[in-house]
Symmetry: C2
Subunit: 279 residues, 2 copies
Amino acid sequence: MTVTIIGVGLIGGSLALALKDNGLAGKVIGVESNNHHAQRALELGLVDEIKTLTEAISSSQLVVLAIPVTQVMQALPSVLDHVTNQVVMDVGSTKEGVIAAVTNHKNRSRFVATHPMWGTEYSGPEAAQHQAFREKATVICNREESDGEAVALVENLYRQLGMHLLYMNAKDHDVHVAYISHISHITSFALANTVLEKEKEEDAIFELASAGFASTVRLAKSNPATWTDVFRENRENVLDVLNEHISQLRKFKASLEKENYEYLEELMTNANKIKRILK
Amino acid sequence: MTVTIIGVGLIGGSLALALKDNGLAGKVIGVESNNHHAQRALELGLVDEIKTLTEAISSSQLVVLAIPVTQVMQALPSVLDHVTNQVVMDVGSTKEGVIAAVTNHKNRSRFVATHPMWGTEYSGPEAAQHQAFREKATVICNREESDGEAVALVENLYRQLGMHLLYMNAKDHDVHVAYISHISHITSFALANTVLEKEKEEDAIFELASAGFASTVRLAKSNPATWTDVFRENRENVLDVLNEHISQLRKFKASLEKENYEYLEELMTNANKIKRILK
């Protein structure tokens, strides 16, 4: 099959590689508004050719939107305008806004809303990786709003990439990712800013940076434009989680201020329950 | 040389292995108040024998305290009481309190205050690892208060383990580790509690846990007793950093509440400067 990928950055580029590596796409066409990225995607062999949106759609059986979520919301209606019997899917980090943008579109049922749970802190075509999605989860949202045959194509594709599938409505998805992904990014960004602020006075501070620091701050290297977009789209859920997180931090603060070390230890013993989840 | 290690958990056990693997200790004697840990340390080959404190000190050239910092503060004066020409070192996470506990001790100069910057979220003798300290930093604090020959022995030991040395006064050390290690643990513990709180309503939440989440929450598996001890000992510095961190998080919150996405992106662009440090 010929696949069009709109946006050949970290996710789009990695998906292009995965589709080729697994024999799922004979040809991958890239659509890319950034000329430098388009050029690099060709040079790196992520895509076979770069075309305009309408040319690309008419030559493809599957169209994947791998651009930031607000751009998906803008582009998706016109992508669906051009669709005859193609399947269209997105891979964005939030789902409610994207689905709402095409709810009444005559070709809504050709669109499958998905979110493969993989990413790194890097961005652009150079960040694309082989074997990126293997053994991770993909969420498919509001499956009942898509044609059964379109869903089957997308499910089969993800399974062939070694992913397992989860089904959720868009609303629940957006709440869950706020907890399981978005807040981790905010804490990392904020932690980096905390330490960078101190570094202005104490230039030796990073000489001590340990593996624990590297692990908690890694996500602070993530792309600001991408994440502004994600946080804007999932604003209410992210604010809820951020408030809860600040209130959890305040418990640590209060226990230290009051020198209530029994309570402090209790807070950490509770946090240890995460061992059930993270092996 | 014969080395006594007081406390054969994660750090003491790993140090025992490193000393043997690198031919630095012909014999390692363990001193361990937890009988089960003592037994496991023998079975795992971390130590050659278990002895009482006074027996162990008199048979050794080097004594290492690898117990939680508050226990170091209690034990160190009596360890120094028994010292003739042995070198004593600790490996604790905070340094001001430990050094203050022996400032006026007649054998103070036999003690070298150190902090090897390595650890994992696991604890106990079973968590001990070979090659643990390689390519990490060790801080030596208040070097001028220790005998030159004692410092030389400790420096040589750490260099042979593949570590590079940093020198700092205890006060600066404790500020720096609050920024570079302690706050990371608090944010991880608090993040785990944030998500575990939500899990009470939504049991599917962890199905989506991604690599980013695993990375930021990893430290929440750390030992509560150990970290209560560290936070107690470094209370004022940790509170300073925690306040700064909460205020950094509030900037994210304010920018989202006011829908000031330009400022939000600016905050993340600033955080990206961490790339200079974390490759």
